[in-house]
Subunit: 233 residues, 4 copies
Amino acid sequence: MEELKQEVYEANMLLPKYNLVTFTWGNVSGIDRDKNLLVIKPSGVDYDQLSPEKMVVVDLDGNVVEGELNPSSDTATHCVLYKQFPNIKGVVHTHSPWAVSFAQAGLDIPAAGTTHADTFYGPIPVSRAMEEDEVVTDYEKQTGDVIVETFLKRHIDPDEVPAVLVNDHGPFTWGKSAFQAVHNAVVLEEVAKMAYHSLQLNPHHIEMDHYLLDKHYLRKHGRNAYYGQAIDK
Amino acid sequence: MEELKQEVYEANMLLPKYNLVTFTWGNVSGIDRDKNLLVIKPSGVDYDQLSPEKMVVVDLDGNVVEGELNPSSDTATHCVLYKQFPNIKGVVHTHSPWAVSFAQAGLDIPAAGTTHADTFYGPIPVSRAMEEDEVVTDYEKQTGDVIVETFLKRHIDPDEVPAVLVNDHGPFTWGKSAFQAVHNAVVLEEVAKMAYHSLQLNPHHIEMDHYLLDKHYLRKHGRNAYYGQAIDK
Amino acid sequence: MEELKQEVYEANMLLPKYNLVTFTWGNVSGIDRDKNLLVIKPSGVDYDQLSPEKMVVVDLDGNVVEGELNPSSDTATHCVLYKQFPNIKGVVHTHSPWAVSFAQAGLDIPAAGTTHADTFYGPIPVSRAMEEDEVVTDYEKQTGDVIVETFLKRHIDPDEVPAVLVNDHGPFTWGKSAFQAVHNAVVLEEVAKMAYHSLQLNPHHIEMDHYLLDKHYLRKHGRNAYYGQAIDK
Amino acid sequence: MEELKQEVYEANMLLPKYNLVTFTWGNVSGIDRDKNLLVIKPSGVDYDQLSPEKMVVVDLDGNVVEGELNPSSDTATHCVLYKQFPNIKGVVHTHSPWAVSFAQAGLDIPAAGTTHADTFYGPIPVSRAMEEDEVVTDYEKQTGDVIVETFLKRHIDPDEVPAVLVNDHGPFTWGKSAFQAVHNAVVLEEVAKMAYHSLQLNPHHIEMDHYLLDKHYLRKHGRNAYYGQAIDK
C-alpha cells in the first residue's frame, strides 16, 4: 500500500507539471485490485502541500480505510469507474481547459488525426446532461453512472477509449496505472486543442478515415487481431 | 495596519505570478472594516519595485492617510465597491486578456460549466457602456457606480458573483480578503478562456442547467439552505 | 554614443524577454538627434550573441559610420521613420504573432478598449499593399514611405499612435526612446491579442466610444488641453 | 559518423527546447551523403534519456547498421525523402500543434506574409488522404511516397518549400542539415499559428502578392537570378 501511495502521490504531482490544473482542480487515484482498496488525493489540498503520507485510502464504496484527511470530493465517481471498468487501475480528473471547452460545448472530441489515434481508438465521448434528480441525489456517484452509460449505449470499449468528457463539467481519464491515466490526460488535452483549431479551420470534415485510425491505434496498442474491424465493436 | 499592508503587498505580488498583468496593469486593495481604511497599491510602480512599506493607506473617500506615493488611479472605484458591497474586504482590478476580451465585446461570461459554478453563482455581468458625462466627470467613481448599478438592476448578489466586467475596460473582482479577491481573479480569467472556446465550438447553447449551477456553487459555498432556488433571488 | 549603444543593446534584449521574437526576427534602433546618427542591431545576429559593441552606427541615409557588422536589413525603413517623424527617438520592428496576424489579414487593430487607449489614441493602422515596383526597387526605403503615407492620408499623428502594421508583413513601433518603442511593441501585441478575441466574440461592435478613448489616452498622456477633441485632429 | 550522431542528437534535443513535441512525438535524422547512411532518433525514447550513443545508424533501406535500439517508426518515411530529394541532409517529423491543426483540416498553410516568405517560397502543401491499401501495406514508406507525389504533381521544388503536412497526421520538414530542418520546423509552427489567426480574421484574402513573396524569399536565399518569376517554376 505504501508503494501505491507513493505512485499516486507522484502521479498527482504530474498534473501541475503538465499544466493540467489550476489551484486544486484535479485528482488522481490508483487501485490495488487484490485488496480492492484505492488511494486518492485528499480534498482541497494544494499540490505543493502534498506528500505520500497525505494520500487517503478508501474502499470501493468510498469509506476511508486509512488517512487523516477527507478524500477528494470526486471519490464516488472514481469508485464507479473502478467497479464498472474492470481493467483499469488508475483514474484522473482535471479541469484542463481545452477538454473542458468541448465538455461545455456538449461535443465529442472527434478523432481528427493520428495524434488522437495513437492513444484513443475513436472520438472522446461527451456524456449526456444529467437530470435534476441525478444532480440532487448522490451526484458524484451518478456522475460515474452516466459515464458508464455513455460507454454502454455507444458501444465504446473503455480500454480502447480511456477518456470521457462529463457534460458541462470536464474530463476523466483512466489507464492500467495512475501514471498511464495521467499520460492519457495529457494526450487528451493536446488532441482537444488540435481538434478545436482544425474545426475552426474546416468545420465540415475533420474526422479521419477509419483505416488510418485502425492503423495508428492498432499499431501502437498491438491488437493486430482486431485490425480492420469497425470502431464500435 | 502593518499586517494588512503585508497582506495587500503579497496579494499584489500574486498578480504577476498568475500571469494576470502586463507591466503595471493591475492593483489589489484590502480594507480594515473597523477603521474604515483601505490599503492599496501605489500608482504606476513596477511589481518588482513593490514592498509592504510602499502600500498606500486611504480612507473611504480616497484621501491618503499614510504613505509617500500616490495611490492607484483606480482607488475611487475600489472605494465605491467597499461602500456598497458591505461584506467584501478585498478588491482586485486587472486587464487580464481573456476577461478583457469579453469586456470589449460587451458580453457577459456565461456560466458554462462547473468550473464557473464552483466560484460564481451565475454569469459574470458586463456593465453598460458609460455615458459621456460619466466619463468626463469623476470617471473612476462613476465606474464604481455603474458596477453597483449593474448588480442592483440585474438582481445579482455581489457576494455570490464576486466579479464584474467593466464595458470596454476590464474585470474587477472582490472577496472576503485581498487573497480571495485574487483567487477570484484567477478563476475569472480561466473561466473566460474556457467560455470563449466553448462559444466558438457551439455558439447556441453553452449555458449550464440551473440545478447543476446550484449543486456546484452551493456545495462549495455551503449554503444548503438556498439549494434549488432561482439564481436571481 | 557609447551610452546610446548600451541603451539600444538593452532595448534589443527586451524583445526575447517579452516573447516578441522568434530567432532573430526583430530589431531596435535609437537615434542621437544632435548628431543625426542612429544605433541599430546588426543583421542576423542571435540575441544571445549580442553585446553593446556589436551595435552598428549609421547616418540617416543608412551609411555605416561605426561597427564591424552589417546593420539590420530594415535599416532603411528606420531611417525614413526618423526623418519623417521628428519627435521619435526609438524604433522597433518585430514579427510578433498577434500583430502579424492582423497585418496578414490586412486589418487595422481597432481601439477596442481602455488597454488600447492608455497607449494608442485610435486604431493601429495597416498600410496599403505595396505595388510591385515599390517592392522591386528600394524595398526597405519604400516600406518606410508607405508607412508615412498611411499616417498622412489618414490624418493620424504618429506621436499619438506610435505603431503601424505593414501589410502582409508586421508591426513597427516607435517612441521617445528605444525603451519606449519596446514598451509600445509589448502593448501592441497585447491589444492585438485582445482585439482578436473580442472580434471573434462580437464581430459587429467592438470599437470603443470616442469619449472613453479620449479620457484614457489624454489622462495618461497629459494633454488635457486637447480633451474631448476628435481623434483625427 | 560520430560527428553526425552528435549533431543529430543535438538537433533532436532542440525539439523540446522549441516546444515542438509532447512526450516522444517527434524525431530528427541526418544523412551522410557519401556513405549513404542516416542517423536517426531511437523509437519511443524520452528526450531526457537521449544521448549521442543512443542514436541509430541505418542505410537508405532502413536496415540498422549500428546501434542497440530500434530506430524511429518513421524511419521508412525519412528514407524516401532522402532518396527522392537529393539536396537535403536533415529531416524532422513532429506533431507540433498548429501545423497538425492544418493537417487535420486538410488545408495548405497559405503564404500569408513575409514571415512565411523568408523561409518558404509558397504555401506549405497538405498531401492527399492516403488510400486504404497504402495505409495497410508499407504505411511509413507509402507516407513518404505520397509526400513526394504532392511535390511532383503540384510542381513544388522541395528545396524551396522544405515542409509538408501529411494529411490527418502532421508535418515533416527538411533542410541542408539536421539543424536547418529543425529551424524550418520552428518557422513552420510559427507561420501556421499566424496564418490560422489571419484566416479567422479574414477568411477571404490572406494570400500575399507574388512579388512580395519573391522579394522576401529571394532576398534571403540569394537567388537573384530568379527574381520576379512565377512561384511554380
